[in-house]
Amino acid sequence: MASNSTLVVSNAAQLGSARTRRDFLRIMGIGGTLVLLPSVLSSCSNNNNGIVDPGTGAGPGTGSTVTIDFSKGDIAVLQFAYALEQLEADFYTKVVAASSNLTAEERLVMADLKNHEIIHREFLKIALGTNASFSLTPTYPGVDFSNRTSVLATARTFEDLGVSAYNGAAQYLTSTANLLVAGKIVSVEGRHASAIRDLINPKSVDFAPSPFDDAFSPAKVAGAAQGFIVDKLAFANAPTAFVQGPNANG
């Protein structure tokens, strides 16, 4: 561990270890940094030792490459959002379908989140038209869908990441119409994040851990999301400039 808020993963097997998974969820939960050293991806492309997901048999980043080309401008930003919404929608679909020790109240929240994320995904699919031609295969190393604690911790990771992703990518939008749509979605993700955090630790200060949410660069978001995607997420013509938000951690 480089520091309390940075997790350095140097080989693929580490991604699948219980210790690292706990650290990953904890660190993403506090807005920390996940560093994937090049050795991770190289080992992923050669084999999937140690990161076999029981559901699909394929680990993160072992599949075909999905490239988002930022020379497409606003389309690329919306494609990136589409990728994240695919991930969230699939996650909550599995959560709702699984038997688990979630409470009845928690199941109602999960059912709403499933609906919202599917609607986001399908909306972006329509909006993107022929630019929505990719379909990602999610994977959930270490996530136990029967276990309330594991499900809620993963949900918190996804919702916080979604908020940070939209907040950070908005600066690359050139159309006010697209910016408005992103704004309509990101606040609902913020409502989700708050609800999940309050389910985990009711009536605590956790629902909003900072006066400012994070704004993460697309590269930082992709690094975190890759841990849940079999396909290899890649960028072409990625923006080199990134304007930080108040937390200056993007």
């Binding site: 599917i118 159309s175 006010t176 749509v181 606040s187 913020g190 609800a195 949410d213």
Partner: protein
């Protein structure tokens, strides 16, 4: 341009934006020379063309105007939570974590906005005097025993804040630092709204245009939230097998214009 067309092929909102912009112009906002010339010539098509270009090129004074407007809202929220958390016998011990967090955040927001405004070379507006009974529409929310009223107003203010920031984002599109700062406040206001709503036994998200159990005079906070058409694409049918049209309205928060927000908060200005 391809990157301008993805969601703009049909854009019913552009008319609203142009109207909002022309309202500002009639109220004395600065306009570009080509637009002034077009208006002087009385040519609507030319003026519209110039205006649409203005929409995408907001001035520095426009950014300051957004920040001042946000500052007013944050003053309102901060004073509300300061008075609430300072009031004896109002907030049950178990709920104090939430309201102390809200207080701290809103104070940080207004302090940050003041700094940003000063950095733009402008003078932050001074805090107005607030009337949290909305001129008698509700009982004193800080009086012992009136916790229910206090919670109702908290929900009203937070749901308003989310919509207010969202409605101003487009005016910040050319100032990436301010845009990003505003967005990171915007989503925190959404977290606030969600926790208050859930504390009150409601869903964390807005269903249709429902104000839930809030008094009728707050309906303006929720009007328009039932919209399902976003940038020309109607999402209503996506609710089929996915929670129906209610879920579609929950999945998208809607903006409010500055004028709409002003109408909502005016009763709270003494």
């Amino acid at each position: 341009m391809e990157n301008q067309t993805v969601l703009e092929t049909i854009d019913p909102e552009i008319a609203d934006r142009i109207v909002a912009r022309s309202d500002e112009i009639s109220q004395g906002a600065s306009i570009s020379a080509p637009l002034a010339a077009a208006l002087a010539l009385g040519s609507v098509p030319i003026a519209l063309a110039a205006l649409s270009k203005d929409v995408g090129a907001q001035s520095a004074s426009d950014v300051v105007d957004v920040l001042q407007f946000a500052l007013l809202l944050e003053y309102l929220e901060a004073e509300f939570y300061i008075k609430g958390t300072d009031a004896a016998g109002l907030i049950p011990a178990a709920d104090r974590n939430i309201f102390l967090t809200l207080r701290g955040h809103e104070v940080t927001h207004y302090q940050t906005l003041r700094t940003l405004i000063s950095a733009k070379g402008a003078t932050p507006i001074t805090k107005p005097t607030f009337d949290f009974t909305a001129k008698g529409a509700v009982p004193n929310p800080f009086a012992a025993g009136n916790y229910a009223v206090f919670q109702q107003l908290a929900m009203a203010f937070e749901d308003t804040g989310v919509r207010a920031y969202k409605g101003q984002a487009g005016r910040l599109i050319n100032d990436k630092a301010i845009l990003t700062a505003a967005l990171t406040i915007h989503s925190v206001e959404a977290r606030h709204a969600s926790v208050i709503r859930r504390l009150r036994g409601k869903k964390g998200w807005i269903v249709g245009n429902s104000r839930e159990d809030l008094p009728a005079f707050t309906q303006g906070i929720y009007d328009g939230e039932q919209n399902t058409v976003h940038s020309g694409t109607d999402a209503a049918a996506l609710g089929t097998n996915n929670g129906g049209v209610n879920a579609v309205t929950e999945a998208f928060d809607e903006p409010l214009t500055k004028e709409q927000v002003t109408a909502i908060i005016t009763p709270f200005l003494a």
